[in-house]
């Protein structure tokens, strides 16, 4: 399926864009992460949560929604 991936904070600096479209043929969130890690190896070293259609999801879940967001924690104040 065709996914829209949104990158927040420093993750957008790694991907080089705040969002992109991606054709994805596998099933789980963790498989999607493997695909993204291959594309952007530096992502692998970062801590972040994944949201599907604006809801935090776990890595074991299936991809059921087309909008995915990668959210890192921010510490600045």
């Amino acid at each position: 399926m065709n996914l829209k991936i949104k990158y927040f904070g420093l993750l957008a600096e790694i991907s080089g864009c705040p969002e992109e479209e991606l054709e994805f043929s596998k099933t789980s969130v963790s498989e999607l992460m493997e695909t993204l890690f291959e594309k952007y190896p530096l992502l692998k070293e970062k801590d972040f949560q994944v949201a599907q259609n604006h809801e935090i999801t776990s890595r074991e879940m299936h991809i059921t929604e087309s909008e995915i967001a990668l959210l890192p924690p921010f510490s600045g104040g």
Binding site: L10, S75, G76, G77
Partner: protein
């Protein structure tokens, strides 16, 4: 006309709402980019008791965003400087300044005196300490955090809602997320995010329905886009914190790293021979220091400039007030420069020392 007439005239606030604000007690952790706008709006709104805790001092590079301070308060403790400014803004409220670090030792006693905690801190250790202590003390936390042009806002631990750990269970690896002084931040962003935090505080006190609990609001100053992400409560994360209840000081030890850093007083430093001083402040920081002669290597560029230093030489590291230099000293030790010491009091201490000499 009363000070609060523009609030009281709102049917959703009224005299009754204003009196709720005047009996509320709110503690703001950190008087930095976020803490300043939060404190400013809460003081103006007439929050009856406002606490502010910050151990840091005002520096020139803070003034781009930390709007409670001015050039005349450079070098002053932030909590005390904030209190001075806020007392002028609204003398009818109680303001308590705590010029100290929030630690596992003082956190629970401090939280006990307040109804709502605002997290405007600038590091993960404090954020997780605030989260864990707020769960133990059963206080809601209005969370705000920023990175360059983006901010996150949420209300945690409110009416049985999720906590920060439900969103991010564990702190990220040290050094994997840089802070403002290393990467920069758009000044006005801290005003936007801090104002959103102040708004959530007021909504909670007034009993509005749509408090930002169970949701993480993400704002981009570049695109003005707001994305709201749903966050579920995780009972497991709460249990993890309840189990810490009597062990907070073990979980958050007094920064052992800080104890390892060797410090030296200005007087001793000036008496020392064969040492090289290093100024790790940004190039535009004032006062400029020429005595003693020093190398200028801003903290963020230390690693790139390692080839200018030698493992067998002795160094004294200074910043504005002696806080960042501890970070730099620790970093240099890790990078294989063993003989370095952090100068207590920093550039301001040097100025003071030179003044008493003449």
């Amino acid at each position: 006309m009363s000070r609060y007439s523009r609030h009281i005239v709102l049917s959703e606030v009224g005299q009754q709402g204003q009196s709720l604000l005047s009996t509320a007690k709110v503690l703001v952790v950190g008087a930095g980019g976020l803490g300043c706008p939060v404190l400013q709006y809460l003081a103006a709104a007439g929050i009856g008791t406002l606490g502010v805790i910050d151990f840091d001092v005002v520096e020139l590079s803070n003034l781009q965003r930390q709007i409670l301070f001015g050039t005349s308060t450079i070098g002053m403790n932030k909590a005390l400087a904030a209190k001075n400014r806020l007392e002028d803004l609204n003398p009818s409220i109680q303001i308590h300044a705590y010029p100290e670090k929030l630690t596992a030792k003082n956190v629970l006693a401090l939280f006990d005196n307040y109804d709502i905690i605002v997290d405007g801190s600038d590091n993960f250790t404090t954020r997780y300490l605030v989260n864990d202590a707020s769960i133990i003390a059963n206080k809601p936390v209005v969370f705000g955090a920023i990175y360059k042009f983006e901010g996150q806002v949420s209300v945690f631990n409110y009416q049985n809602g999720p906590s920060y750990r439900c969103l991010f269970p564990e702190p990220p690896k040290e050094g994997s997320v840089a802070n403002c002084s290393e990467v920069g931040v758009l000044g006005v962003l801290t005003g936007i995010i801090g104002s959103m935090q102040a708004n959530e505080v007021i909504k909670m006190i007034l009993g509005f329905n749509h408090v930002l609990s169970g949701k993480l609001l993400c704002y981009s100053a570049k695109t003005a886009e707001i994305t709201t992400i749903k966050v579920e409560k995780s009972a497991k994360e709460f249990e993890k914190v309840y189990a810490l209840k009597d062990h907070l000081t073990d979980q958050y030890p007094e920064s052992s790293n800080e104890n390892e850093v060797r410090e030296i007083s200005v007087e001793d430093a000036f008496n020392k021979e064969n040492v090289q001083f290093i100024d790790i402040r940004e190039r535009d920081e004032f006062p400029q220091i020429e005595i003693p002669p020093n190398l200028q290597i801003p903290l963020g560029t230390l690693e790139q400039n390692l080839n200018r230093l030698h493992a067998e030489k002795k160094y004294i590291i200074f910043c504005q007030s002696g806080i960042r230099s501890k970070v730099a000293t620790r970093l240099l030790q890790e990078l294989g420069i063993p003989n370095c010491q952090s100068l207590q009091g920093g550039a301001l201490g040097i100025m003071e020392h030179l003044k008493t000499k003449t």
